[in-house]
């Protein structure tokens, strides 16, 4: 069995940034395992621009953004294996993988960084009634067909869900000559970025139908049309009489992303029901010592820049763990999300986290205007910040400084909440 200091599962943006950061921290025994043929993860098919504004202060396409990290991996000669699928991870950090070049392999890692990303919620999970015909794809699958295979999945398109990939694909399909009829969203607001709504729907005259959903799918063999109805904003139930039939040959779904934690569970990592990702502390260490998690497998991010930032931290902390320098000082303070907070990460802080600031991230549960976000310990407010608008599409990231953390020492719990 080969040994390695840091084994990184996944060579997408999170895995790459974690590898680069671990190397820059001094680690010289790193291995990235990537299941696809090339590094880059989902960025390979994200050929639109808008990546990297925070990290590189320039607008890059997905492949360009990934290449910046791949270049570093190559420059640092960090070993990686593509076409390698991890099959199992144990609590003792024994990783079993299968690769087309090396066959079945096992590694003993001193530390493992989980960076497997997420998957899209499929039609089946929504239980949309109707025929089970062809022509129904998740937006990401369609994106792969169009951008990587050069094949159009269809010509007349309806989009259900206004997640970012759906919005991006509305524009992409339009560019490629398809007619995009509308983007249908169950909620009263989009879960995508504002800039994507403007640049991908508004600019092309594609209507965004809020409080609507697809209630029926027509077409025995290939999709022939969908029926869209308005929903009651409270109950989310379709309102009878509001049905409209749209003739289309393609339905793209952008109805949520699910962190892919099946491997994490095999390793015994505790999963948060709020995020679908691992429960981590301020070092991004999971409930299993030496196993770290970052990027969309930890929680679904809005921007890749923040994935990279988080992964850099995971790389650094994993190396500290390898060196036996990852101090977990002081009592564990659970962080709970109060009103308006969906899945705060990290879920646990250590009281004496050694003077470095802690990033607390979450998505607002709804749209809140002129709202305040506060962090408090047993009713005492330790931090607050005002926001003109909070939306589920854009993540909130709070930097909690050493000062705040020292005031929180001794607290049994920290609560982060929205006051609107």
């Amino acid at each position: 069995m080969r040994t390695v200091d840091i084994l990184i599962v996944g060579g997408g943006p999170a895995g790459l940034a974690a590898a680069v950061s671990a190397y820059e921290s001094g680690c010289r025994s790193i291995l990235i395992l990537e299941r696809e043929e090339a590094l880059g993860g989902i960025l390979k098919q994200c050929i639109h621009n808008g990546f990297g504004l925070h990290t590189f202060h320039e607008e890059l396409t997905g492949p360009e953004y990934a290449q910046k990290y791949i270049d570093k991996v190559v420059e640092y000669q960090i070993p990686y294996q593509c076409c390698t699928m991890v099959l199992d991870i144990t609590e003792e950090r024994v990783v079993t993988a299968v690769s087309n070049v090396n066959g079945l392999q096992q590694f003993q890692a001193k530390s493992v960084i989980l960076a497997m990303g997420c998957r899209e919620r499929p039609r089946g999970a929504l239980a949309i009634p109707g025929w089970r015909c062809s022509g129904i794809y998740t937006a990401g699958t369609a994106q792969k067909f169009v951008n990587l295979e050069g094949i159009m999945p269809g010509k007349k398109v309806m989009i259900l869900g206004s997640g970012d990939i759906g919005l991006i694909m509305a524009r992409r399909m339009t560019f490629m000559g398809a007619k995009v009829l509308a983007c249908v969203e169950l909620l009263p607001y989009s879960s995508g970025l504002k800039r994507n709504i403007v640049q991908c729907l508004d600019d092309y005259g594609i209507p965004l139908l809020l409080n609507h959903t697809v209630v029926d799918i027509s077409g025995r063999e290939r999709l022939e049309g969908v029926t869209v109805a308005e929903v009651d904003p409270e109950t989310k139930q379709p309102i009878p009489g509001t049905e409209t039939y749209y003739e289309c040959d393609t339905l793209l779904l952008s109805v949520g992303l699910i962190p892919e934690n099946e491997l994490s569970k095999l390793a015994g990592v505790k999963i948060s029901s709020a995020t679908g990702g691992a429960e981590v502390d301020e070092n991004l260490e999971t409930s299993v010592p030496g196993i770290f998690s970052c990027g969309n497998v930890l929680h679904v991010h809005d921007l890749v820049d923040f994935v990279s930032q988080e992964a850099e931290k995971a790389g650094k902390k994993a190396f500290q763990f390898v060196q036996g320098q990852l101090a977990e000082n002081g009592a564990r303070i659970p962080v709970t999300g109060g009103f308006g907070v969906a899945g705060a990460v990290p879920q646990v802080l250590h009281a004496g986290s050694g003077g470095s600031p802690v990033t607390l991230m979450f998505r607002p549960k709804g749209v809140y205007r002129n709202a305040k976000i506060s962090v408090s310990a047993e009713g005492t407010e330790l931090y607050s910040r005002k926001y003109r608008i909070l939306t589920p599409g854009e993540m909130v990231s709070l930097e909690l400084g050493p000062d705040l953390l020292s005031r929180a020492a001794g607290a049994k719990e920290l609560t982060v909440k929205v006051e609107a």
């Binding site: 690769s99 699958t141 999945p153 269809g154 000559g177 290939r222 569970k265």
Partner: protein, 484 residues
């Protein structure tokens, strides 16, 4: 015209088991399937239960063939390398006044010849099924209840039949049957056939086929059932197949593990006017959950991976119609076969094959080999077996379907086997690629590519299940073939 001894119409589980049984004789046999693949009708969309046989009325064909078929399953599944699990069935009563009805069911089962039936109380039930709703107070325990993969079973029968000489024709709907001289002349989408004997295993359309040749008319009353499938993470929540005791509210909804580790909830029962309306409906799906919740109080809806519906070929005679038609010699029916049709299928197949062989004075086939090996499943191998599989076929190292850990080797083999996969759904049923929690989101592009390579067709010609169910509309880089 193709000259045959026996022509089977219908490539569902009954047609394919009959084909395999007929392969045991020196007969020239072929099977016609109207769809693009075998197992495209009710055989692919049912509860996947090997029923004990307590449910059917004593004296019916259903009762007889259910109990007989149940007894044949172990041997058949061993010979065909098909996963089968004797997980027992439970019929649960949710109020004390149901207990006498459980006793009645037990008595009925005993009259049908079902062994080892017992009524168990609350405590024993809870010990067996800790996650059952507190309202469950007693149950009929059916020791001979099991679960099986219905599509793998159908495919395995077809493969074994084909390996023993039966010819399969797909995309071959029957358009006419006439009486010839000592034979039947059958027109189909795959040409004209003459056969000394014709076997009607046409499922939902078995009335149409029968009524083409016989004045003894039958009528299929299509009945739809809708289902949910839940993620494998609930594999251990229920051990037995948990039925609900029928009440005046209906026959109840089943909650059962599947051999593949998912949980299946359903079916509803709704009579249809149109026989192939396999749509799911919001009412039906809601009903499945409403009644399913009686058994499993808090069904985790966020872990639903898919929903589907199947149509049962319920016959107006309320029983299977089996055997030679009274006014059409050498025309044999296996018509109106609905639940417990899957369980009954080997017994029906054996009965028809023996009957036909006798009438045609056919000798046994000395070369008949009843053994079929399944496609070796990477996900079920030990690491040592995996290493060996990869050494002999490097495609075993290429995982295509992440959720179900299906490799390229398995997908290619599914296409290359006799009666091999020609569609994305065909691959799904033979390998489980695309059947997992992402529902083919990640593997579809690669599966399409492999089908296109193996079948030497353009990716644009690849379909989900034949006909016009094409997946893709245009190639962006070929002139004149792009999007509008």
């Amino acid at each position: 015209m193709v000259m045959l001894d026996v022509l089977i119409i219908g490539g569902g589980v009954v047609g394919c088991t009959t084909a395999r049984m007929l392969a045991g004789y020196q007969l020239k046999t072929a099977l016609l399937e109207k769809a693009s693949d075998i197992c495209e009708g009710q055989s692919k969309a049912n509860t996947a239960i090997v029923h004990g046989g307590y449910d059917a009325k004593p004296g019916t064909m259903k009762a007889k063939y259910n109990v007989m078929g149940n007894g044949m399953f172990q041997k058949m599944c061993s010979e065909l390398d098909v996963p089968l699990k004797w997980n027992t069935s439970l019929v649960v009563a949710f109020s004390e006044d149901g207990i006498p009805k459980l006793e009645e069911l037990k008595h009925q089962g005993e009259r049908n010849g079902v062994p080892n039936l017992s009524v168990i109380g609350r405590e024993e039930l809870r010990k067996r099924e800790p996650n059952i709703s507190p309202a469950a107070c007693a149950a009929l325990l059916v020791e001979t209840g099991g679960i099986v993969c219905p599509y793998e079973l159908t495919v395995a029968n077809a493969e074994n039949a084909a390996e023993n000489g039966v010819r399969f024709y797909r995309n071959a709907p029957v358009t006419g049957i006439q009486k010839g001289e000592d034979c039947w002349i059958v027109q189909s989408g795959a040409g004209t056939f003459s056969a000394k004997a014709v076997v009607n295993c046409a499922g939902l359309y078995s009335d149409e086929i029968n009524n083409m040749v016989s004045e003894d008319k039958i009528r299929i009353l299509p009945r739809r059932g809708e289902y949910y499938i839940l993620d494998k993470k609930y594999a251990d929540v229920f051990h037995a197949s948990v039925f609900q005791l029928p009440t005046k509210m209906g026959k109840g909804i089943l909650v059962t593990p599947t051999v593949d580790g998912t949980i299946l909830i359903g079916p509803t029962a709704e009579d249809l006017d149109v026989r192939d309306d396999t749509r799911t409906t919001s009412e039906g799906l809601a009903k499945a959950i409403r009644f399913g919740s009686l058994t499993w109080e808090h069904i985790p809806m966020r872990d639903v991976i898919t929903t589907f519906s199947g149509i049962r070929a319920h016959c107006d005679r309320d029983d299977f119609v089996l055997g030679e038609a009274p006014d059409a010699p050498m025309f044999f029916n296996a018509a109106g076969v609905e639940s417990p049709g899957l369980t009954s299928s080997p017994a029906i197949g054996r009965y028809l094959a023996e009957l036909i062989a006798e009438k045609l004075h056919a000798k046994g086939n000395p070369n008949y080999n009843p053994i079929r090996k399944g496609i070796p499943k990477f996900r079920e191998m030990t690491n040592e077996e995996r290493a060996r599989a990869i050494a002999s076929n490097p495609d075993y190292a290429k995982v295509v379907c992440r959720c179900e850990t299906v490799t390229e080797a398995e997908i290619r083999e599914a296409i290359r086997r006799p009666v091999g996969a020609r569609t994305v759904d065909g691959i799904k049923r033979r390998t489980r690629a695309g059947m997992g929690r992402c529902q083919a989101g990640f593997c579809t592009p690669r599966t399409v590519e492999i089908l296109s390579e193996e079948l030497h067709i353009s990716p644009l010609e690849v379909t989900k299940f034949g006909g016009n169910s094409k997946l893709l509309s245009g190639n962006l880089f070929e002139k004149g073939d792009g999007a509008e």
